[in-house]
């Protein structure tokens, strides 16, 4: 696999946008703390979900559990092993989450489909229960909510919203590139082979055990790192309740709406699910001037998400990433045909 010209253009556009345009034009803290940082964190977790569900075809529902494992591992590592440093702790927290991923991925060898989903729910409940049950994980803090430590990389504190955004951006960029390499390379082909026809994959020498467990481990690694960033950059506190089943579902929705089996879909899906409530609220406040109750707006949000899920599942299972792809193609062909018309008219005259 090599990078095409298109990939390099896409990458540079994203980099210019996120490193130059956003930091120079967006000054309000709100955008960083409430939109961009959670977007990057959740997109990262969604990539994890994509790997196990979109690429390997294993219906798993426990992303938030792995995120909790990553977040609390991070807290304990910074607290107890300060020598590791921020980046080191982040990697080790991811690895700890990956270990949980392997453990809870094992049922995928025997059960599939909706039954696997129920089995993986165990990870969600077990990890949260474990953190709640044993005080050691929370450093025997009785209040229930622990403040996250400040982020310090190489002696420099990263505490302003912009600095935290840059930390999230750096981690997300690196991990996204790695995920893309895997997805397009032989690793990704093995995942998709297992997804599309496991018995044929096995006959080609793809080990089901290895491939599935590997996908679960990598997925949990991504979720773990995302969880650590989510707690340290967005919530700035640690509480098991933040990683409840609702968050798992949110990530699942991001994955499906964004488009199963696509990496860019993770970002599109995460942006949609995060921004849509903001948009609805804005409509409620500005168009209806607060005439609609906030609780009704949040209910409407749920209804629309549900409807969209059904519509996408029926009409475009590949999600918004596919819609975006189609739109680009249409624009391109329109542009081309317009050019051809121009040429023809030029020739006539």
């Amino acid at each position: 696999m090599t990078y095409t010209k298109k990939d390099l253009i896409n990458l540079s556009v994203c980099m210019v946008l996120s490193l130059i345009i956003i930091p120079t034009f967006i000054k309000t803290e709100y955008w960083y703390t409430s939109i961009l940082i959670p977007w990057l964190c959740l997109a990262l977790a969604t990539i994890g979900q994509q790997i196990v569900m979109g690429y390997t075809g294993q219906l798993a529902l426990g992303a938030a559990g792995f995120m909790a494992a990553g977040a609390f591992a991070m807290f304990n590592l910074i607290l107890r092993v300060p020598d590791l440093g921020f980046v080191g702790s982040l990697i080790v927290s991811g690895l700890i989450a990956a270990a949980f991923g392997i453990l809870f991925g094992l049922p995928s060898l025997k059960v599939r489909g909706i039954y696997l989903m129920v089995a993986t729910l165990a990870s969600q409940f077990f990890i949260i229960w474990m953190i709640d049950k044993f005080g050691w994980f929370k450093n025997y803090d009785s209040s229930g909510i622990i403040t996250a430590q400040d982020i310090v990389i190489l002696g420099k504190p990263f505490t302003t919203p912009l600095a935290m955004y840059l930390v999230c951006l750096a981690v997300t960029t690196v991990l996204t590139l790695l995920a893309m390499n895997m997805a397009r390379g032989s690793t990704g082909r093995n995942w998709m082979a297992v997804r599309d026809m496991d018995i044929a994959a096995e006959s080609m020498g793809v080990s089901l055990l290895r491939t599935k467990v590997q996908a679960f481990a990598i997925s949990a690694f991504y979720c773990g790192v995302a969880g650590a960033l989510f707690a340290f950059c967005y919530l700035k506190s640690l509480e098991p309740v933040a990683f409840d089943i609702k968050l798992s579902f949110k990530i699942l929705f991001m994955c499906i709406l964004g488009g199963l089996g696509t990496i860019n879909g993770a970002f599109i899906g995460a942006a949609f699910i995060l921004l849509f409530p903001v948009f609805l609220n804005a409509v409620g406040n500005n168009v209806f001037h607060g005439a609609i109750d906030a609780t009704i707006i949040s209910s409407i949000e749920q209804v629309i998400f549900g409807l969209l899920m059904i519509v996408f599942m029926i009409y475009e299972p590949l999600g918004m990433a596919k819609l975006w792809e189609n739109l680009k193609q249409k624009l391109r062909s329109k542009f081309l045909s317009a050019n051809i018309k121009n040429l023809k008219s030029l020739k006539k005259s």
Binding site: M1, T2, L178, A179, N181, M182, G185, S186, T187, R189, N190, M192, A193, R195, D196, M197, I199, A200, A201, E202, S203, M204, G205, V206, S207, L208, Q214, I218, G261
Partner: protein, 264 residues
């Protein structure tokens, strides 16, 4: 056959000894034995429900027979799984097509290169030079197979969108990509028209001739079977009722009875 073969038919490469397989009370295969010689084209024929596909599934490790053994190159293999057989150099296609539907033709064939891919996921993620080198080699081999099968123009199409005949070709391509010494083909020509069948025969014979790959195929078209195979084994109700060259099989009274029925 009159022409000089590059790869002379040799010793038995695959031996099936006294295999019995039943599903609950239904006996699919009863005490069946036959062998496959190196570099030959071996056909398995028989009426519907004779246990042909079950036989291939036993050889390949998808089914576990209650009795009997499978030997590869004279060595008995215990605990057969599809994975182990693939590693020993046995590849196969499936009766009802088992392609990776959402992947492109090229990607499907590249999966066949799995056993020639030694790099692990971390190396792939970091795109180390050796990953690039290996990927390039695998792609070259896959492109070779694609041009051999004359399917260059569809190599980027998702397999699920292709017509049946082409899908069968892709499946053969995937099996070829493994560079196996023996390939099991489960009805490679089912549902094809005459022209497609002729193409398929040409591919099978060409692979056998040029690479010396041993071919075991299940086929219903008697003309095809008698034309391309070196030896034929006939199954009926899970038992071997004939085994020999096409001419011997055509003269075998039991086989004629099984196909045409006998007066009682």
């Amino acid at each position: 056959m009159e022409y000089e073969r590059k790869f002379k038919i040799g010793k038995p490469i695959l031996e099936v000894n006294n295999i019995s397989l039943s599903f609950g009370g239904v006996k699919a295969i009863t005490d069946t034995s036959f062998n496959v010689l190196e570099h030959e084209v071996r056909a398995i024929i028989g009426p519907n429900g004779a246990g042909k596909s079950s036989m291939l599934n036993c050889i390949n490790g998808i089914y576990k027979p209650q009795q009997g053994t499978v030997s590869f190159r004279g060595q008995q293999i215990d605990n057969i799984t599809p994975n182990i057989m693939a590693q020993m150099g046995l590849s196969r296609t499936f009766q009802n097509l088992a392609l990776f539907k959402r992947m492109s033709v090229l990607d499907n064939i590249l999966v066949g290169r799995k056993l020639h891919t030694k790099t692990n996921f971390l190396e792939v993620a970091l795109q180390l030079p050796k990953v690039k080198k290996e990927e390039k080699l695998n792609r070259e081999r896959s492109e070779e197979i694609i041009s051999f099968l004359e399917i260059e123009d569809i190599k980027d199409t998702p397999v699920g969108k292709l017509p049946y005949g082409l899908q069968k070709k892709v499946e053969l391509g995937r099996a070829l990509a493994t560079d196996s010494t023996i390939i099991l083909l489960d009805e490679p020509m089912a549902g094809m028209n005459v022209e497609e069948k002729r193409d398929m025969c040409r591919f099978i014979l060409k692979v056998n001739d040029e690479l010396g790959t041993t071919m075991v195929l299940i086929e219903h078209d008697m003309g095809v079977v008698m034309d391309i195979s070196d030896r034929v084994v006939v199954l009926d109700y899970g038992k071997v009722i004939g085994d020999g060259t096409p001419d011997e099989i055509m003269a075998n009274q039991k086989v004629i009875d099984a196909y045409l029925g006998v007066e009682h």
